[in-house]
């Protein structure tokens, strides 16, 4: 998945010589929290609702309209902007947002702003990735950290003719394990679980019932 596929290409920008009051109106009218600052399409900074709050603590009360009108965007904008390229992977965008604690990333190609991608866009795509919007059952396994384990599990699922909606494999709690989360297109996954356990893998979820029901 590349940034281009999930970015918003209708970007609302602001000119460095616009007033902070104008920037506030733009954000409010479009229900957004960041504005790339551009001159003729070239990115020179970014301004967020946070930046504005810091310049005028009483913005909400509207006590200082003078200040808001007289302060220009270029006076308070962030000049160091973290950006991504349309062909970057989504993971790269997620990593930048996470590491630099920013709410959004302008997407820049050949010096021009061609899109914008926000924290929420990244989260939404991840939710779609994990397949949370399709009916399915959740299966969580702990596998030995060695080659062939995913194939072994996938083989079992395949033998049951069940479709895998999504699969997530990541390092487990211990060095010698991996955790595998599968979303399966099936209501009844008991037989799959049985076969996976017979293969010697540990099923973390669903929890197997304690056998103390029938006394």
């Amino acid at each position: 998945m590349i940034v281009e596929n999930i970015m918003n290409s209708k970007v609302i920008t602001v000119h460095p010589d616009n007033s902070v009051a104008q920037a506030i109106d733009l954000m409010r009218d479009n229900n957004i929290r960041h504005l790339p600052v551009t001159t003729e399409g070239n990115l020179i900074g970014i301004i967020s609702d946070r930046d504005m709050r810091s310049v005028s603590p009483s913005i909400l009360t509207g006590d200082e309209p003078e200040l808001l009108i007289n302060t220009k965007v270029k006076d308070i904008m962030q000049k160091q902007v973290i950006t991504v390229h349309p062909l970057d992977f989504l993971e790269e965008a997620a990593r930048l947002i996470y590491e630099y604690k920013v709410g959004c990333l302008p997407v820049v190609s050949q010096e021009r702003v061609v899109g914008i991608i926000t924290e929420a866009d990244v989260l939404r795509s991840m939710v779609e990735w994990v397949g949370l919007l399709q009916p399915g059952a959740h299966l969580e396994l702990e596998l030995p950290n060695r080659p062939g384990m995913l194939a072994s599990v996938a083989g079992i699922v395949q033998r049951h003719g069940v479709n895998i909606i999504s699969a997530l494999l990541f390092p487990g709690k211990m060095d010698n394990t991996q955790t595998l989360i599968l979303r399966l297109k099936a209501l009844d996954i008991r037989m799959i679980i049985k076969d996976i356990e017979a293969e010697g893998h540990k099923v973390l979820w669903p929890l197997q019932r304690e056998p103390d029901y029938e006394r």
């Binding site: 399709q134 399915g136 059952a137 099936a186 209501l187 008991r190 669903p206 929890l207």
Partner: protein, 387 residues
Amino acid sequence: MSGKAVFVYHPDLEKYYFKPEHPFNPTRLRITVSLLQELGLLKENDIVTPRLASMEELLLAHDQDYIRAVEKLSNNCFEEEGLFFGIGTEDNPAFSDMHWASSLVVGATLTAGEEIMEGRADHAVSIAGGLHHAGRRQASGFCIYNDINVAIRYLCHKYHIRVFYIDTDAHHGDGVQWEFYEDPNVLTVSFHESGRFLFPGTGWLNERGKKEGYGYCVNVPLEPFTDDNSFLECFREVVPPLIEAFQPDLIISQNGCDGHFYDSLTHINLSISAFQEIPRLVHQLAHAFSGGKWLAVGGGGYDPFRVVARAWVLLWAEAAGLNVKGNIPLSWQKKWQKISPCTVPQTLFDSPEVSLSVPRCQEIAEKNFRAASQAVQDTLIVLNKYI
């Protein structure tokens, strides 16, 4: 408090049968009827024969190409194209006469609805119905056609009514929810094991309906190992105030009983008593708010001998206003022990000795109750604004 009740049934409904070893086994219908008869709770004139749903009726809640595919797969179960519609999987294998049998299930629920709306009965029970996972063009979770969706669409259209739908199957009633997601005339409430743990993985608190229908969809996701007390506490917190505010013309309840502790497909820990108490509450609410009009359908339930038969006997007894005694006739035990993989029960209720030691039971109840309170809040605001 009671009204006239009818039981919509015909042995042909047992033809909704995927294959041997499949958990959704129509034996559960036969043994339920058998237990009702042995207990003397079901008389010949209580029973109404279901009609077949027509193509036109199916089209109210399904796409034409989907129905065509189901028809085609009924004759040749090995068509590849089924997979596109969710048929031919281990959950939903094609079977011969699938279209006919599924149409009869839909017809049974339609018949039940008509008995009520035409004034021939106050309550109608269609235990073969309750196929709440099927989508417009998707078989899912053992459900081919969604009898509930077709019936609601049909009844709303024909009688201009507003419907309150309560789903207490352990699985989220996703098919019904999505069909009426934007419709303020149908309020859907589903109690189910949280999607974190169980198919279909939806039914979150924040699924509340859309557009006109915002607020008219309520979900109460429950923790694994939820017991009777917690379940009923949540039910009482949510359902009565919503019904009172919504003032429905008809209440439809889906009575899946796979939340019983014997059911191996889910992790909810209800006892048989819960399956008496739930219909009892619905019954009372119907008399208080919908002129007695109550349509009850079946649903999930994968332990036929120890759970389904007993749960649905209690459902019918409640609808028909009949008292039930504690023992299961020996004749029934003898007859069915032959094909039961486990010891068939001797009593209608679970003995208290089969108590379940559930760790963190208090925490579970707390978490469930918080979900229930949140679930009901927003909808009450919406309902009180418009009514």
